[in-house]
């Protein structure tokens, strides 16, 4: 009986310990779920909520933080909302923005929190390349992480190419021959647009880097003028292509369904790889089979390597945000393998974390080509100069594309605008 009592006492004690442990465990789980922070996340990327929700799930698994994405359909409104939020601190915890020159006003004006420590740790752990950091730096501080890394190749319809007996061009002459052949089939070979003005820089930057990447870099850093004979030569090449009727109408849209329609016709589309999912998910086309992408060949045959435009969108933390510590933690987590893998899967695009294997066949092929051929990766025109210069520049480029300004008018006006806006910039921020 005593033994029985003793056993009973031990069992009771054990059950008490176990149940206490269960209760403590349950309590701590309940506490953890109570402490899941919801971070307000503002962005202007229409149709990307699914991607951000996927990231949110990854962040929840990693650090118990979720995102509440809010989409702004109008970019101008978005920017102004964040300007107001910068002053009041009322608004998002995390936000998307643009890298390069477009970050400077926000960084100097107190919009973004300094996240240099996030980068330091991420670089040390091999989650991101140091080369990429400079696109998000203003002075010595870093203010954002990359929101994916997108190449700007030429997307083309692989089946149509096969049907028309065309192959991916390796030289400019071959590229011109491909364009001429597509035109002969009654299809406009190349997508171009001035819809919203900004797409006018696509062909401008592309032709410049195909002619000479140094020319592009010198021009965008104000070392040479837009009236430089080499720049004028590029404009003349562009004009020749316009005159041949190789470009689509100026109000062509190349996003979503419209991109798929163009692709199905056989028109080639120079666009960021962030638009890849429009073909694969939205259009139901199979990457690598129905469509693919190639690096546009050099115009100048003397160049030893090709160049491609790279766009790295930015995600930063609002400096006056209520949950700054959590926001920085989330940004660090965002760069880690699990979340980056989720992003790669959800977006079908490239990611900055080199540990993440690229699954999408088009992006995989492109990344392989870029690495194998040591293709120069060059920052987009949109992020490569003071905002008023770029915004004013695309207006002039649009007029040139529509034929309402000649080469001489366009280059002269661009040069005058650059002189004016660089002077303003230098006065404001120094060189």
């Amino acid at each position: 009986m005593k033994l029985a009592n003793k056993k009973m006492a031990v069992l009771t004690a054990a059950s008490l310990v176990i149940s206490s442990a269960v209760v403590v465990g349950a309590t701590s789980t309940a506490n953890a779920s109570k402490h899941v922070k919801v971070l307000n996340f503002y962005h202007d990327k229409n149709g990307w909520d699914a991607r951000f929700n996927a990231v949110s799930a990854g962040l929840k698994d990693g650090i118990g933080v979720t995102l509440k994405p809010s989409t702004y359909a109008d970019t101008t409104l978005y920017q102004n909302t964040l300007n107001q939020a910068t002053k009041t601190g009322k608004g998002p915890d995390l936000l998307t923005w643009w890298s390069g020159y477009r970050m400077v006003d926000g960084a100097k004006g107190g919009m973004f929190a300094d996240i240099s420590d996030v980068w330091k740790d991420a670089i040390a752990k091999g989650d991101v390349s140091k080369d990429l950091q400079k696109q998000f730096m203003v002075g010595t501080k870093t203010y954002a992480i990359p929101n994916g890394v997108s190449y700007w190749p030429m997307f083309y319809n692989k089946k149509k190419f096969a049907e028309w007996g065309l192959t991916v061009p390796k030289t400019w002459a071959e590229f011109e021959a491909v364009c001429a052949a597509i035109k002969a089939k009654g299809v406009t070979p190349l997508t171009a647009s001035v819809d919203g003005a900004w797409p006018s820089f696509i062909w401008f930057e592309q032709l410049l880097i195909s002619q000479d990447p140094k020319l592009y870099l010198d021009l965008t850093s104000n070392k040479i003028k837009y009236t430089d004979p080499k720049v004028v030569e590029v404009f003349n090449i562009w004009k020749g292509m316009i005159d041949k009727g190789w470009f689509t109408a100026g109000d062509t849209s190349f996003f979503g369904e419209e991109a798929v329609k163009l692709m199905n016709k056989g028109t080639m589309i120079p666009v960021g790889t962030w638009n890849n999912s429009a073909f694969s998910d939205g259009g139901g086309l199979v990457g690598g089979k129905d469509y693919d992408a190639f690096v546009i060949p050099n115009i100048n045959p003397a160049l030893t390597s090709q160049s491609i435009i790279v766009e790295a969108g930015a995600i930063g933390a609002l400096a006056k945000g209520k949950n700054l510590a959590q926001s920085k933690k989330a940004l660090r987590e965002w760069l880690k393998f699990p979340v980056q893998a989720i992003w790669a899967d959800a977006s079908g695009d490239g990611v900055p974390n080199p540990k993440v294997p690229v699954a999408d066949p088009v992006i995989k092929g492109l990344s392989k080509y870029v690495a194998a051929n040591k293709v120069n990766q060059i920052q987009r025109y949109w992020e490569s100069g003071p905002v008023p210069l770029i915004e004013g520049g695309v207006v002039i480029l649009s007029a040139f594309m529509l034929g309402t300004k000649t080469v001489a008018q366009a280059t002269t006006e661009l040069a005058a605008l650059a002189d004016k806006e660089w002077a303003v910039w230098t006065k404001k921020y120094g060189k």
Binding site: T86, D251, V395
Partner: protein
């Protein structure tokens, strides 16, 4: 004349004092009696006016004298923004567009609206017609812009229709070149705004006393004479309102332009409101944008006041 005397007599009391004067005196006496409590009830209204009207205008005026760019503290620069705007090459293009918009959106909706109102008001089931014409008016400018963009874009419905009826030669990039892009947008705006004009004119026509129409008919007036001599003069009040609102709306045209062309290509379809928006919100030049906003505000107020005063004055002299 006799009508006016009769009306005036009706407004007089037995003590031969105009009723409005008596009411005014009564109000003054009432105010003296109630004192502070009366003014107390004005406070919410005053706060609303200050917050919604006076503060934004005052702030815009203040910003127009600064170099405000949004994030950094603004620096006072006097009249520099106004001087810059007056020599800005875009000013000429913008004002030309505003003039085209003003003339076109004044003439077209008023003219078309008047014709429709006149024709429809005598027809059986006119309320249904009026409702049909009013439908576009209830759409937002953004929706109207999006709808007409799909019609006028190069791959749009209009060009497809032209091709389908064998008129390939007329296919055009309607929104890409000037001035056809502005004309296209004016067509969209006319479609959207005519409905309200129809309703207003219909109300005016319905208020024309039947006796005068019957008397003129008995005197042998045909439809033309009936319209110009009897109905048209009695639409003066409505006309003044329609013209006044059309003028103000055309001067501040923004949403349709922003949606259909964004003021482009190459800024050639910008209106003053679009230029203001672009400078203030796209380029973050709040100071410069504010100066344009003040310029636009002065223009709209001046033109509206002149138009309404002119329209109503003519009425008073009749």
């Amino acid at each position: 004349m006799s009508n006016k005397v009769e009306q005036s007599n009706r407004l007089r009391t037995k003590s031969s004092q105009p009723i409005w004067l008596k009411l005014k005196r009564n109000n003054k006496n009432q105010m003296r009696k109630t004192g502070a409590s009366t003014y107390f009830f004005f406070i919410p209204a005053i706060i609303c006016v200050l917050a919604i009207l006076v503060y934004p205008i005052g702030k815009t005026l203040y910003l127009s004298f600064t170099d405000s760019e949004g994030l950094l503290p603004p620096v006072f620069i006097g009249l520099q923004n106004y001087q810059n705007f007056l020599v800005d090459p875009i000013l000429r293009a913008t004002l030309t567009n505003v003039l085209i918009w003003t003339v076109a959106t004044l003439v077209l909706p008023v003219f078309i609206g008047l014709i429709i109102a006149t024709v429809v008001s005598g027809v059986k089931g006119s309320a249904i017609y009026r409702m049909i014409f009013l439908l576009p008016y209830v759409l937002s400018g953004v929706a109207v812009g999006a709808l007409w963009f799909n019609i006028f874009e190069t791959e749009g419905l209009l060009n497809k229709f032209l091709v389908s009826i064998g008129l390939e030669g007329f296919v055009n990039s309607w929104l890409l070149y000037y001035p056809q892009n502005t004309i296209s947008m004016i067509i969209a705006a006319t479609w959207a705004s005519t409905g309200l004009v129809v309703v207003l004119f219909t109300v005016g026509i319905q208020n024309v006393p039947l006796q005068t129409v019957e008397a003129a008919t008995i005197d042998g007036a045909n439809s033309w004479v009936l319209f110009w001599k009897i109905i048209w003069p009695q639409l003066k009040y409505i006309r003044a309102v329609v013209i006044g609102t059309s003028l103000a709306n055309s001067l501040r045209t923004f949403d349709i332009v922003w949606v259909m062309t964004g003021g482009g290509p190459a800024r050639n379809s910008e209106t003053l409101a679009v230029t203001m928006y672009r400078e203030a919100f796209l380029l973050n030049r709040y100071g410069y944008g504010s100066a344009i906003a003040v310029f636009l505000m002065v223009l709209v107020v001046a033109v509206s006041v002149l138009s309404l005063r002119g329209g109503l004055k003519k009425e008073a002299t009749l």
